[in-house]
Symmetry: C2
Subunit: 321 residues, 2 copies
């Protein structure tokens, strides 16, 4: 959870509701009941809670600590493909230790947002029986906490990263080769008892910004006990483009909106088959495409179910032949 200050060639907002948690849960709550775990400061007033409450997002796991809310400021280049971080103040995030509410421990569809892998592990270990676990990370953790990241990787059903992160983690430029390596990292069975062991085939989503995403899944579930495999790893592959928009205003939160729509769709349907994962990718991409149309979380706050259904159908026309 963050206060975002964003400047793009098309506008500017100051100290607005932001952070992965906000974008993710505003997107997910369009599909299923959504419950947040995170921390804010004493300056996180009702003004910031109101848009989340309006979507019935459960904020009981949102700890309010003494101090200031995490704050980020960024400025985008003219073509929106590059951004400079102007400031990052960790504030209350620096000492955050996740404490789940009793009712949150029974949740089945879990998404571990971008955090130190040890915090992600501490969060997951409080869930009694996770059904499907999504995982995000960033270059910083790939570099600073590779061991811890590799531990949590083995517990995730789906890992969502961008292309530069995939290349850095795998040390491969070609994304198909990179995906094979990362899926192998996910597949090696980690000696940890059920219920935290993955039940589904390891799945990887590589986000490519405006170019959309690639999803990879090993053709055999890890429950077969195969662990690491040789060169011949057989994978299923799916591609989805970014929705071609005429006006993009602010890319902030596109990845988190994607993850929210994706996980929300899976939780709503309760189906983690390959074909439904494809539809979940479309639902996620729909949410990302709305997110970028206005500054900050504004567009996510105003869209309706009918908007989502219309764009989902447009996505089908755009890609199916």
């Amino acid at each position: 959870m963050a206060f975002d200050s964003i400047e793009t060639p098309f506008g500017k907002i100051n100290k607005a509701l932001g952070g992965s948690g906000s974008y993710f849960s505003l997107a997910a709550s369009q599909f299923c009941p959504t419950s947040l775990v995170g921390v804010v400061g004493s300056d996180f007033s009702d003004k910031y809670r109101a848009p989340l409450r309006k979507r019935n997002i459960d904020l009981s796991g949102l700890e309010q600590a003494k101090g200031k809310t995490f704050a980020w400021g960024g400025k985008y280049s003219f073509d929106l493909n590059n951004r400079d971080s102007l400031f990052t103040h960790l504030n209350v995030m620096a000492d955050f230790q996740p404490k789940l509410q009793p009712h949150q421990r029974g949740i089945g569809f879990v998404f571990l947002g971008n955090m130190h892998p040890t915090i992600q592990l501490k969060t997951l270990s409080q869930i009694k029986k996770p059904k499907f676990v999504g995982l995000d990370t960033m270059n910083f953790w790939i570099e600073k906490a590779p061991k811890e990241l590799k531990k949590i990787l083995k517990l995730a059903d789906i890992f969502v990263i961008n292309d530069s992160e995939a290349r850095e983690l795998s040390k491969e430029h070609n994304l198909v080769k990179a995906a094979k390596k990362i899926i192998r990292m996910m597949e090696t069975i980690y000696p940890r008892p059920s219920p935290h062991k993955r039940r589904e085939a390891a799945t990887l989503i590589i986000k490519r910004g405006e170019y959309g995403l690639l999803m990879f899944r090993s053709a055999f579930p890890s429950t077969s006990g195969r662990g690491v495999r040789g060169e011949g790893l057989s994978m299923q592959v799916f591609h989805l483009p970014g929705f071609p928009l005429e006006n993009v205003t602010d890319p902030t939160g596109a990845g988190d909106s994607f993850a929210g729509g994706f996980m929300g769709y899976l939780a709503k349907t309760g189906d983690v088959s390959w074909n439904n994962l494809k539809r979940a990718c479309a639902a996620g991409s729909v949410m990302a495409s709305f997110d970028v149309e206005k500054l900050g979380t504004r567009r996510l706050q105003e869209i309706k179910d009918s908007d989502i259904k219309r764009r989902f159908a447009e996505f089908k026309n755009l890609t199916n032949f």
Copy 2:
């Protein structure tokens, strides 16, 4: 038609069969009878004709002039995304004037390869009743012959360019905006009598290299006589990714192989509906994905119908949800 000398991190060939015409016709001939118009020099021996003859490509319109065949040399960067032209010798191409054979004047599906727009116009004017005209160009002609290019644009049913060319021609960075502008350029009715006037809605394909392509079509055929329209131009949009390959050896000719597969598929099916244009895009992308697997035209020379059918089905699994 050219002699290509290509160096990539994965190999090298010297004075091999190349040029848009070779890649295009090797790809198109997998789908339909293909007839070439072009020029070669006296050094274009039977060795170079053999792979084309093997595919039953009609070479009767291939003029053999005194002098040397057009020759090009290029070297690719490690990640294959950049290439340096080492040399370009126009040779016999410098004075080329297209002269179609009598039987070629009755052809319905015509593709005008990358040439001076005036040469493209001279070629098209020799066709009695073109059914469907495809057009290629390059930055060089956008800069050096914009007026002539805009003339031929109005006679083409489909215009195939890459993203940087689309941006340069339209002076728009956003590709949806760029597409609208270019479609308007195509749609303005050019005062030229039938049969050379376009019969179908103007269609634009923007190629994005490894990221695939976007296809745009104005929602109303130009035969309605609307001409230039305002802001509200309504377009149909289709996207196809590049096929995710683990090993790419040589991107040379990928665009021409795409165009060949695309036009070949249309000519074979005789159907230029929006839905069939989508399938033609897939057929073209299949040919491009084979082309890049080996140096020069090698892979295009060896593939079979069953290879094409298999990859076409893989493309469907990759993109449809």
